[in-house]
């Protein structure tokens, strides 16, 4: 049982950025996207795709050129690179004007936000591939944003990707307002924390019982 607890702790550390050390739900970064922009799954997927380009480019630029510039110049460097990335991205999705309008002010904010600034100002470890680390952070952001988008679209409009789901829950349109986002993000963050604590407690208790000879098997 001690091996199971150790295995769980190892999984927790390696996949930390997705669940237990999620940049949005645990560290509180890039919250405006999670709270206000996640009104449909399409929005969530588009935001994730935009953030992928921004994060990867910022990480590579930081690793390659970061040391050549003074610290106060770094934000300008990342914003400039991400401006070009976002320009290209907006051209690609120009066939989805409804999604662009729905995202409103939040799509341009992908070019410059606390997630990128945090990642580039100490969030990236000196050892290890910058690309892999930025992808891990992106995975955490993407999970949070897509999960919340799907949940809010289901609760707020009764649809998923625009397709009516016909579930028995009444559609509560205010879940699509920012206050619905705040409350849902709070509950999802608490849920993750609670799940982690519960798992650790169960594994520790079973391990303790086994050491005392109380549990048969395993």
């Amino acid at each position: 049982m001690r091996a199971t607890l150790r295995k769980y702790r190892k999984i927790r550390t390696e996949s930390g950025h997705i669940l237990w050390n999620n940049p949005v739900l645990t560290q509180g970064l890039a919250l405006p996207f999670a709270i206000a922009a996640t009104t449909s799954l399409k929005n969530g997927v588009v935001l994730s795709a935009a953030m992928l380009g921004a994060l990867v480019c910022s990480a590579l630029v930081y690793r390659r050129f970061g040391a050549r510039f003074e610290v106060w110049m770094h934000p300008i460097l990342y914003s400039s690179v991400n401006l070009l990335v976002l320009l290209g991205f907006m051209r690609i999705i120009s066939g989805w004007p409804a999604v662009i309008d729905s995202l409103g002010i939040y799509l341009p904010m992908v070019a410059s936000n606390t997630l990128i600034m945090h990642m580039a100002s100490g969030g990236l470890k000196a050892e290890g591939s910058a690309l892999v680390q930025s992808l891990r952070i992106w995975a955490g952001f993407s999970f949070a944003v897509c999960f919340l988008s799907a949940l809010r679209e289901l609760l707020g409009a009764g649809t998923l990707w625009g397709i009516p789901m016909g579930v028995g829950i009444p559609s509560l349109s205010p879940m699509l307002y920012p206050f619905g986002g705040f409350i849902l993000v709070g509950f999802v963050a608490a849920g993750l924390k609670g799940l982690d604590r519960l798992t650790l407690r169960i594994l520790s208790r079973r391990g303790k019982l086994k050491r005392e000879g109380g549990v048969a098997g395993e």
């Binding site: 509180g28 106060w72 914003s79 907006m90 409103g104 341009p108 936000n113 606390t114 709070g186 608490a190």
Partner: protein, 197 residues
């Protein structure tokens, strides 16, 4: 007198009715760090007001260029971000030349504020909704004042919550977000309808 009245009316709308934190969730990142003490909140607010005013002046001139005025809204937003970068660089260069000590002390705060979603979001809304410099400045400054008030309320909330028997899973960021959500719900009673993104 009319100008002054409309200036204050736009300021109050931006600060209370369309509060950037409660109505648009801007400026909510790194809540736990920025709301520890009154000094943190006021210094964030001061830096944001300065950058907001300078950025609005710059963006107002740029938005009058025909090529920029003819762009679609989401492309124009990228131009505004480029202007914010230029304003930030100008402020930092000036500080580096004349007051390098100040730049070392407030550099982190300045970059955090200049490249935060709150500033860019306020600029985009102010420049899209209003056409005069007066109106745009009023909205930008009102928005930053609203952010300061919201952060102060959140700071008091943290003090209050530290005395509550909040369940362990909710302690910290989750309960703070739920608190802000309920306050945002209350402010929606004033607006009555969702604001355009």
């Amino acid at each position: 007198m009319n100008n002054l009245t409309s200036f204050f009316s736009v300021l109050v709308t931006a600060a209370i009715v369309e509060n950037v934190v409660f109505a648009r969730a801007l400026g909510t990142s790194k809540l736990m760090d920025r709301t520890r003490e009154t000094q943190d909140v006021l210094s964030t607010g001061g830096a944001l007001t300065l950058m907001s005013a300078l950025a609005t002046l710059c963006n107002h001139q740029v938005s009058r260029i025909e090529a920029v005025a003819g762009m679609r809204a989401h492309y124009r937003a990228l131009v505004y971000l480029a202007c914010i970068s230029v304003v930030y660089m100008a402020v930092c260069l000036m500080l580096r030349k004349f007051w390098p000590g100040i730049l070392r002390r407030v550099g982190g705060l300045l970059s955090g504020v200049a490249f935060s979603g709150a500033l860019l979001g306020l600029q985009i809304i102010a420049l899209n909704e209003y056409s005069t410099l007066f109106g745009r400045l009023a909205y930008a400054i009102g928005g930053t004042l609203g952010l300061v008030v919201a952060l102060l309320m959140i700071m008091f909330a943290r003090e209050r919550l530290s005395f509550s028997r909040v369940p362990s899973s909710f302690r910290g960021l989750p309960i703070l977000l739920i608190y802000i959500g309920i306050l945002s719900l209350a402010i929606y009673g004033l607006i009555g309808h969702p604001l355009a993104a």
